[in-house]
């Protein structure tokens, strides 16, 4: 267990960050989510319950628009792919094979507690809770459309308040996330100190036992 951070650890981290970069996976992921959300929104707008014939010209225009977005995504993915190839080449040129990216060379093999991956917490913090409307049309003759309309309005009202609640919950989540990250870092630090003290104690005990043995 490594207990004292050194400049070498920091330099290793700088070199790790240097080989990162370009467009991140998350950014592409966010782009895909945005397109999906937009598509869902359009779907609900274009195929509204009770509407006899969708406006096909509108549908076609929106479809072209979605194609444009997907093409943009493809373009960015290609750029990101290219960037990664360049980086991999650079990494091969610049880094020696012994350099470990996320851990110091002094860390014991198999020990993954010092630099724990906190990306899941960070991802959770960046997520915003959102509640979607789900008012399916009913098949009751005559009153169906009227009932559906009523159901829709009531659902919308409920969702309005839920959405407000969700926004507050998102803030709470972010605060929790911040504190979790802080405690995680604190834990790592204290863990290191504890291990150092234990090692020191063991050394002293060993010395003491040695001395006692000599006296005996």
């Amino acid at each position: 267990m490594k207990s004292v951070l050194t400049a070498q650890d920091v330099l290793s981290d700088i070199e790790f960050e240097l080989v990162q970069g370009a467009i991140s996976k998350d950014e592409l992921g966010r782009g895909v989510v945005q397109v999906k959300e937009y598509q869902n929104k359009l779907r609900s707008e274009l195929f509204q319950p009770g509407q006899k014939h969708p406006d096909w010209q509108e549908v076609a225009a929106r479809q072209f628009q979605l194609n444009d977005m997907l093409l943009t995504l493809l373009q960015e993915m290609a750029a990101a792919h290219q960037e990664r190839i360049v980086q991999a080449r650079r990494q091969n040129q610049q880094r020696s094979p012994q350099t470990v990216v996320t851990t110091s060379t002094a860390v014991a093999p198999g020990d993954d507690t010092i630099w724990r991956d906190t990306s899941d917490i960070e991802d959770a913090m960046s997520e915003t809770l959102e509640i979607k409307l789900d008012a399916r049309p009913t098949n009751i003759p005559l009153l169906g459309a009227w009932l559906h309309r009523l159901k829709y309005e009531i659902h919308s009202l409920v969702i309005f308040y839920l959405q407000k609640l969700a926004q507050r919950q998102t803030t709470v989540n972010r605060t929790y996330g911040d504190w979790l990250l802080y405690f995680d870092a604190l834990h790592q630090h204290q863990d290191g100190q504890l291990q150092a003290q234990l090692t020191e104690l063991e050394n002293r005990l060993a010395k003491l036992e040695g001395k006692t043995g000599e006296n005996v």
């Binding site: 950014e27 782009g31 995504l73 790592q188």
Partner: protein, 762 residues
Amino acid sequence: MVEHTFSLVVNTIDRVRPLHTLLRALESQSYPHFEVIVVVGPTRDNTVEMLAAYDGRIHLHRCPTANLSQSRNIGLLAARGDLVAFIDDDAVPSHHWLAQLNRLFADPLLAGTGGKVYRIHPDKPLIQHHIGVASGLAEQVDVRSSWLEAIVPPGEGYQWHGRMMGTNMVFRRQDLLAVGGFDEFYQWVYDDTDIALRLVNQGKLVHPVKETVVYHVPASSRNRAVNTSLGNWWIQTKAAFYFSLKNGPLGGNGRADIFRRCLHLWHGHLLWYSHLRRQRLITAGQHWRMRLQEARGAFSGSYYGLRRPVKRLSPETINQMPHPNERILPFQNETSAVQPAVDPLSGRQPQITLVEPPLRICLLSMAYPPHQYEGVGRHTHLMAQGLFELGHTVHVITRGESDAVSFYDGAYVHQTPFQTRRYGHYRLFPRLHNVLNYSHAVYEQVRRLMLNDGIQVVDSPLWQMDGLVTAVSGEIPVALRLQTAVKQIAGIQQNTDTDSRLLAEMEQSLIQHAAYLIPNSQATVTAVQKVYDFTPRPDRLTIIPHGIVPVPDEMVRPFDHQNPPDALTVLYVGRLEKRKGIRDLFAAIPRVAARLPHVRFVIVGADNSHQDGFLARHGADYAATFQRQYPALAGRVHFTGAVSEDALQQHYQNCDLFVAPSLYESFGLIYLEAMNYAKPVIGCAAGGIPEVVEHGVTGLLVEPEAPDALAEAMLTLLQSPDKLHELGMAGRQRLLQKFTHIEMARQFTAVYRQMIGMGVMR
């Protein structure tokens, strides 16, 4: 790599000064295969006379009307290059602008592109354009961080496409001609958006990019008065109506969408005029005239959009243009490479003849004037001024709230925002965490400057370690200016925490990774060697003392020893903290005040008692503690706190004696600033101070932490008018001989050239 030829088209009216600046800036383009076509509208200034100096180097054409699209078409018809680039007459391209564009057009599918546009403004610098998009309803999103931002369009238009700003756009000539060039209905604005959309509709790839930078310094024109709200904004309305009516249906938008969009735009303009009126930014007459013109614009845009065909170049006109295989007229000549840098704001160019090409230098400083004045920032500012005067192009990377570029005293100042989202493992060590994140943001900015502006060398201060990540990356040589090390300060202030230890270790790593060390004094070399236990290579180290801008002789105020004033002023400048010797000064002041009742003291500088533990121990800051201990001296000791640069210079000018008993200074710029006004100085015989202050010649030196000796030195000088005069004048002479910013810049230039010549990295 294919080397395309460029025709650079500049359309101009009544802007002789910015145009001249642009032409001088083009001398330093790294890509030589370009011609310049200047299309002059019905100008009323001496543009044509100025252009006579470029006879044989540029193509000059005239446009009979003040119509930008018509002017662009004239330039297009005159173009002989494979690619036609457009840049405004009030802009300056980055060094590698054309080289980058040439590389982009290696993609045979690309028909048009353009890069980032920074608006250079003294108060409000910002990004004007960065991978923008526009819809068929004339909706524009000009600044996005990536292609994926606003991937879901924010407006009502269905068809969205990339657009470039008119001051930074490039097209294949054949593609432009194939779509009939620019639509001459657009006399101003939307010409750039329209051409991009028409190319897209022809199935061509139009893809604006993130870099390929142009610096824009908006100047007044017939259509707008810069830095005011006055302008022919109705022309925008006219163009937007026309654009929406012509392009909206092609993108799938119906009449109702177009009508709604046009009404929104018109209404928005009217609301804006009312706001301007309420803010009293326009008169009532101007308000009504603008409203009427708005109606005229809406009617005209609608009529031409609905009833008239587009006004493009006809095939007959295109067939009459110069032979496409005719060679371009190169703009650059044999003297271009040695032209000094030019100030994009004022157009000033240093009057200097260079025998070697000027350098492109990047200086780092977390704090930088005019917003922040402190030691490293001031030194960097002086270096930038000196290097510009020697003809070099200087870029400064400093901390800022947003990505923006301004030009200040000879340097492009790149504000670099940063977030602490990297190096999360070091959250528990806030100072190190900040240093790493900021240094990484600086590294990314350095990479952009390498790409766009071709910087050849980076110069970083040791303080704050701005250049740490850049030095570790090894991508460009980093010169390191050595000043007081963190470990020295930690020793003085007795900081023993892990954060300080790690910072000190990183400082040592930075010294090891730097390609060249530039200490400001021999004392600094000795101190750094001592605290970090290393021996620098003599061929990678040069001591360069600081230099400052000498004030004009008429501003110098030597002590009037023939008619000494009734009251004398002693000035202290520096942070109020232990390291600066403020406690010794406080101990000495009562003794001097008791002996010399006509002496008053001015203490200039921000309180730093919370950092050195004084506040915790005494329960009050330095000023309050002094005033509590010596209430009788309250009227004679004046604490100003931090002051502006102008006020600081006033204090230097008005004092009779300057005192700064720092326990350690790696150099001591403050003594030079006092000597600049012919003031005698008192400092401590510590650090680099004796290399600046000659004991008994330009001032007096006392041992550090010796308040008795300090009081004695003050009494000696304050009681001797002749000494005050003599030492002050000697100080001014010494400054002019050894410590000017030009002299300093000369020495830095020699080091940089040596680094570049040797190709030293680390």
